[in-house]
């Protein structure tokens, strides 16, 4: 049954890529949360300080996005065997 095995292969492949995304997530969030705010103006120079409402929108927007993406990723892997996917990814690397 080549079709079935192809499907399973695709599924485990998809699973491994989702695991990659999960591993990647904290770095994206760290960059967005830790690095971007460093570039905002504190109002000392010629520029006016970045308004707090903008900062709020930004940080909470990222937060909500991160939660949604994490949720979506979890939804995709919730029934799979994470360890198996990861070890398969390790051996295929």
């Amino acid at each position: 049954m080549p079709r079935t095995s192809l499907f399973l292969e695709r599924k485990s492949y998809r699973m491994r890529r989702i695991m990659d995304a999960i591993r990647f997530m904290p770095f994206v969030c760290a960059a967005l949360w830790m690095v971007v705010p460093l570039m905002w103006s504190g109002g000392q120079g010629a520029h006016a300080a970045t308004p707090l409402s903008a900062a709020l929108w930004y940080i909470f927007g990222i937060w909500a996005l991160a939660v949604m993406v994490s949720f979506a990723l979890w939804w995709r892997i919730r029934s799979g065997d994470v360890d198996a996917a990861v070890s398969a990814a390790d051996t295929s690397a």
Binding site: I22, C29, P37, T50, S53, I59, V67, F71
Partner: protein, 904 residues
């Protein structure tokens, strides 16, 4: 206005409710019911909310009112850790489960060879770091109570005595923790009562804060846009976070989230299912986001509405109160109360486990001296130790609260506490990711980090003149300018918090790494290191094997009963007896069993203590041969590596030998080649001499008789033929060596070929030789070039005739089968070939004696070439009493047709 008594009444009802919920949960768990709730990911996620203490509940608003957005770093760090669960938490949880870890101290001590020194260090550090935090919770409760009391002291009838209030709160928390935290001894089992109460409190505090927030946004400001406009217009309306602090605080809160004993308790120890972690990876960031969503609006509204001197830490309460929403205020109070109590309960539980397992039990064991099996009820001792520890810790918190006089901004104490526990991070992460991390490295790293934290963060926080004198602040410790607590190494102008975190953590990590580089771990440490780092490869692998020859199962049973309780111990032993196949009675104390038992005990008393107790019974902690074998993971690699090296060097030696042989052969061949010209010249000149001489005689001499003429002409003729044959041989060989020969293969009968060869050889020679043959064995039909094969045989028979030096020369031609090879052996009874000639006998011109013989020494070289073409080989077999040449032909050359049908 809510009266204080009303408030206390509601509070008591709430607490009673919590006790009830906890009690019901415990009962349900014992009866095995309610798993859907007790072991649900929801409860797991909510229990993580003890991260949000009263500091975050009240303090975050105050923090925002003072420094704007910076408060949010405290939530972003943990969110990052949760979103990145795959990297660290997944590993921690797996290690925690497989090693039955009871606390962060237990984990680190177990990693570094079950070191009690490390466990004690971490326990003491945790107590020092967390006690102010507990004091902070007590302070927040009394502070929040006071806001209800102070505006109108007469209305409630009773003025609030802060010290008393704190005392009663502390007492109530101690009672709760003792009741629900020490019900079951095995710290690795879930404290369902505690966890469910914490979950309820998590919901209460979340909704309390959301309610206040919603009230502020929609009740006071009048909508989202108005709120945002208000925010931008306020005194904190511009972005004002410093870059260094921003990043450092996110990092610090992430580190603390992992290292705080109470967080470790709920994250790892109370974790029931690794999949819950995956759910919490999005659910907990969501919780944190909701918790911090309304912090800024509340702070801004507070700054707008409240009178100038009012405490921004209490805006959550004072805003609803000032607007006359008493119910909301009371709800907010319950939220704050929940935050404080849940934190104190879990923190105390975690610390008391550490304290009893790593300090009280080892001391007690040492004092008893006699060993675990002779003492009384160890189980009772452990429970008492744990209860004592709970009381001690809460008392410490209370005393700290009294001593500090309830001063200082809440957030400052929180950050200091974070900085203290963050010192565990290098040893923790190093331990689970780096096998090279050693115990000494961890001790040095922790020690240095902790000292620096004390000096740069904790002691200065009390203000100049309290713990450190103003002189130390200005001129450094002992007058050394490089040792100023807020400007170490003379580097000035860094934010004190960033300064302290940077120096303590970086030097901590540096010391940890460098000492690890230069120290050598003992076997148990290496073994545990391998287990921790490779936890996903062998989650259920052996910790290390005990040698249990001397110990009886009875002693182990007695001890286990005292620790686990009689019923559980018996169940454990019976289960293992069944697994071992023993019917009834006790299991044999196999290393596997003792190891399982150690794990089980470790769940109650910690890895180091369990190891020590079993060690007392088993007799000595000396590592056995098996233990060392168990370090296999590493040593096997080393072994494999060294055997690879060995193989390589053997290979090299062999290659060198082969090279030597080849070189020797080359030298020999080169000598031969060198003499090739000399040889060929000799072989050509000899017949040429006769030819030249006689032809000259024939030409120049007239007076020759007819006989003479004939004779001389025939000599010339013979010598010419000899020359021709030599040239033929040379050509033959050269053609053969270049692979240009064409074989005329067809089925031939071996006997016929040998017949032909013997006949031809005899005809060409005057010498006599007796030939012995076994014609039956020769009846084999081969598919090969018969003429070429005959050439080989002729050569061999001729050689035998020529060289056999026996008085009565005899040649035996034997045919036999060696597996799939047909061997034709030509054996004469001569003296054979000298040993030094065996290697070159098949080389060209390799004539081994000086006796004049017909031929140029090319015969055997030609034979070898022919057989190579025919897919066979020729060998010289030396033995006593003769020379044997073996012609070996592959049976694939054997024709399938029957011999009887053919004749050649």
């Amino acid at each position: 206005m809510v009266s204080l008594n009303q408030l206390i009444g509601v509070c008591l009802v709430y607490v009673a409710g919590l006790f009830l919920v906890a009690f019901l949960a415990e009962r349900a768990a014992i009866r095995g019911r309610g798993d859907w709730l007790l072991r649900s990911p929801l409860v797991y996620t909510l229990s993580l909310s003890i991260y949000c203490t009263a500091w975050t509940f009240y303090g975050a608003v105050g923090y925002a009112a003072r420094s704007g957005m910076e408060f949010v770093t405290i939530y972003l760090g943990p969110s990052l850790v949760m979103i990145g669960w795959w990297w660290v938490l997944r590993r921690l949880v797996r290690i925690g489960r497989s090693q039955r870890v009871t606390s962060v101290a237990d984990l680190i001590s177990a990693r570094y060879g079950k070191s009690n020194v490390l466990a004690i260090m971490i326990t003491i550090m945790a107590v020092i770091g967390v006690t102010p935090y507990i004091a902070l919770q007590l302070q927040s409760v009394t502070l929040s109570l006071s806001i209800f009391a102070s505006p109108d002291p007469d209305a409630g009838g009773a003025a609030l005595n802060n010290a008393h209030a704190a005392f009663w709160v502390a007492g109530g928390l101690a009672l709760f923790t003792v009741l629900f935290g020490t019900r079951n001894l095995n710290a690795n089992e879930r404290h369902h009562g505690v966890v469910i109460a914490v979950a309820v409190e998590a919901v209460v505090k979340l909704f309390a804060l959301l309610a206040v927030g919603a009230f502020v946004v929609w009740g006071i400001a009048g909508g989202l846009n108005e709120t945002l406009a208000r925010i931008d217009a306020s005194s904190i309306g511009g972005w004002q976070a410093q870059g260094g602090r921003w990043s450092a605080l996110i990092f610090l809160s992430a580190a603390a989230f992992l290292c705080l004993p109470r967080m470790f308790q709920v994250l790892v120890v109370e974790n029931d299912d690794e999949r819950h972690l995956q759910i919490a990876s999005w659910a907990f960031p969501l919780y944190l986001m909701l918790m911090s969503l309304f912090v800024v609006p509340i702070a801004v509204t507070g700054l707008d509405l409240m009178p100038a001197g009012s405490n921004p830490d209490l805006y959550v309460l004072s805003i609803p109160l000032s607007q006359g929403h008493n119910g909301l205020a009371m709800f907010a109070f319950l939220g704050g109360f929940s935050s404080a109590t849940s934190m104190v309960i879990v923190a105390t539980l975690a610390l008391s486990t550490m304290m009893s397992n790593h300090i009280v039990m080892p001391v007690w064991l040492k004092l008893r001296g006699g060993g675990a099996q002779q003492s009384g009820d160890v189980r009772g001792v452990i429970i008492r130790a744990r209860r004592l520890s709970i009381l001690l810790i809460i008392s410490l918190g209370y005393l700290y609260y009294r001593a500090s006089g309830g001063s200082g901004a809440l957030a400052a104490i929180g950050l200091i506490s974070f900085g203290g526990v963050a010192q565990f991070l290098p040893a923790l992460l190093g331990g689970i990711f780096w096998r090279g991390a050693t115990r000494m490295g961890a001790i040095w790293g922790l020690g240095i980090g902790f000292m620096l934290w004390m000096f740069t963060m904790l002691l200065p926080s009390f203000g100049p003149g309290a713990a450190l004198s103003q002189g130390v602040f200005d001129h450094g410790l002992l007058g050394l300018g490089v040792l100023r607590p807020q400007a170490l190494f003379g580097i000035d102008g860094i934010d004190p918090t960033v300064h302290a975190i940077w120096w303590s953590l970086s030097l901590n990590t540096f010391a940890f790494a460098v000492v690890s580089f230069f120290t050598f771990p003992h076997p148990l440490e290496r073994l545990q290191g391998a287990q921790f780092v490779n936890v996903f490869d062998h989650s259920s692998g052996p910790a290390h094997g005990w040698t249990v020859a001397a110990s009886g199962a009875e002693d182990l049973m007695i001890m286990s009963q005292r620790i686990l309780g009689a019923t559980e111990a018996r169940a454990f032993f019976e289960r293992h007896a069944r697994w071992q196949g023993a019917t009834g009675g006790l299991p044999r104390p196999t290393p596997a069993f003792v190891q399982a038992l150690e794990r089980e005990l470790a769940g109650s008393v910690g890895a180091a203590t369990a190891n020590a107790m079993i060690g007392q019974i088993i007799g000595g902690q000396a590592l056995s041969v098996e233990d060392l074998m168990a370090v296999a993971d590493e040593s096997a690699q080393i072994h494999e590596y060294s055997s690879q090296l060995e193989a390589k060097s053997r290979e090299l030696t062999e290659t060198a030998q082969e090279l030597g042989h080849a070189n020797q052969k080359l030298t020999q061949l080169s000598l031969q080649k060198d003499s090739f010209l000399s040889q060929i010249s000799h072989e050509l000149r000899t017949p040429m001499t006769s030819i030249r001489s006689f032809s000259q005689i024939l030409r120049d001499t007239d007076a020759l008789t007819g006989t003479e003429k004939t004779r001389f002409a025939s000599i010339i003729h013979t010598e010419t033929i000899r020359l021709t044959r030599l040239l033929d041989d040379l050509l033959d060989l050269s053609v053969m060596e270049n692979g240009e020969v064409s074989l005329n293969s067809k089925p031939v009968n071996l006997r016929a070929v040998i017949d032909q060869a013997v006949m031809t050889s005899r005809a060409g020679s005057s010498n006599v030789i007796t030939v012995h043959r076994t014609p039956e064995a020769e009846e084999i039909v081969l598919f090969t070039d018969g003429d070429r094969l005959a050439q080989v045989f002729i050569n061999l028979v001729t050689n035998a005739i020529k060289y056999c030096d026996a008085a009565k020369p005899e040649l035996t031609i034997a045919v036999r089968r060696d597996d799939d090879v047909i061997v034709v052996a030509f054996t004469d009874n001569g003296s054979g070939i000298p040993a030094d000639g065996e290697g070159i006998v098949f080389e060209k011109f390799a004539r081994l004696c000086n006796e004049d013989v017909d031929g140029a020494g090319l015969g055997l070289a030609i034979c070898r070439e022919i057989l190579t073409r025919l897919g066979g080989e020729i060998r010289y077999v030396s033995h006593v009493g003769g020379a044997t040449f073996e012609v070996r032909l592959a049976t694939s050359a054997e024709a399938e047709t029957s011999a009887s049908l053919l004749s050649v």
